[in-house]
Symmetry: C2
Subunit: 240 residues, 2 copies
């Protein structure tokens, strides 16, 4: 970090894309499902279509047209739409449960777990994700992510990038925004946090959206820290 | 899932008394404060008086006379009352901050950390405490408690033994009550949880209230598990 840094007490992490490689994990599980069911589909396109419904689903909540609804429910609703779009007609409730819970079984990036363990020595570490508590708790337990707390849209009753998603979770830790740093691979997430007084760390994840990724290939502002991995973030924050 | 036999997936832990030895820790810190300030008081009586205001303060919230208010705020208000009762007149805001945060620095019982690590191998482990998120996160980080989530009155907006304190936290993990077990040293807490369908584990803490403790010396119902420590609980739940 630059010269005398303000004292950061908590590091908040974006999860989907920043901490875990959602796309590779979702495609892998969809292909397994297809093999088990004897279904031949373009599962990469299916995964991208499913994810494309993520922001519009949250926007229903952010706009106030719909009361706060956890991401597991939004994921299930959009799954049903994508199954219809891909003309998958024969599925059971248990298939919907299994597929929705793919988002509970996402693999971390290779540097994630070691980096978090190092960062945890000096900071409170917590998600600040649009995921819900059950999703993040199971994902983190499976992946070995050593959080100090599970904070997210569900604990704030607001989806990022709405200000309350950041501010209420800082308040849950009794912290002012400038004692918090958001770690994210998305410039827009960091911009929303910085506007509220959070410190910011950009960690590049240039293959989050696959080999053809166009956006978020690099830092678009002078974020407080810019790193290529959680390990490099730990180096730059002087964590042993 | 519906047709499967009941299977416990999460262990919820009471914190004050069950997981940490609040009384010894509070008395030790009050005595340090007294030495630093040159104040001679009966700090054991002070600690017990402070704790005696805990249930009445929460009752204001449970009764609906007061909106939900986190425990750090209740602790601070009751501290001010006890300071007056013990005729401690000279203190600063920073003293109130320091003393209120004693509840963030409580020591675990000797078997707590090793037992939790063993139980975590097989179960989701989380507090289910009347403490708030900031308190529990800092207490747990300092003590090395390896939780998978931080659930509590603040995440439920209800204080135990009100049903919503148990039910909303089970729902935050997407679990039915019979997939949850409450671990507590207090028969009344277990009775409230059992009435809602939770499984129950009693861990005796016969010195929580000091050498003269009268209540909760043993199990008062046939709880699902009865143990003398978190290590024995791990043995009885067949955790390696």
């Amino acid at each position: 970090m630059q010269n005398s840094p303000p004292h950061v007490e908590a590091l908040f992490f974006d999860i989907f894309g920043t901490t875990v490689d959602w796309r590779t994990s979702v495609i892998r599980e969809l292909k397994e499902f297809g093999r088990a069911k004897g279904l031949r589909k373009d599962w990469e396109a299916f995964a991208d279509k499913w994810r494309a419904k993520y922001q519009p689903a949250m926007e229903e909540v952010r706009s106030g047209r719909r009361p706060f609804t956890i991401l597991d429910v939004l994921h299930r609703e959009s799954l049903i739409q994508v199954l219809a779009e891909f003309k998958v007609a024969r599925f059971r409730e248990s298939d919907l449960d299994h597929l929705t819970a793919i988002w509970h079984r996402l693999d971390p990036w290779p540097d994630t777990v070691r980096g978090l363990h190092r960062l945890k020595h000096r900071y409170i570490v917590s998600p600040l994700s649009n995921g819900n508590i059950a999703l993040l708790t199971r994902l983190s337990k499976r992946a070995g992510l050593p959080w100090d707390a599970i904070l997210c849209a569900e604990t704030a009753h607001a989806y990022k990038p709405q200000p309350q998603a950041y501010l209420r979770n800082a308040a849950h830790l009794a912290l002012k925004p400038d004692a918090c740093m958001l770690v994210a691979a998305h410039n827009s997430d960091l911009a929303a946090a910085r506007a509220l007084g959070f410190r910011t760390a950009f960690v590049a994840r240039p293959t989050e959206h696959g080999p053809e990724q166009k956006g978020d290939l690099g830092a678009e502002q002078a974020w407080d820290v810019i790193a290529a991995s959680f390990e490099e973030l730990a180096d730059k924050l002087h964590c042993p």
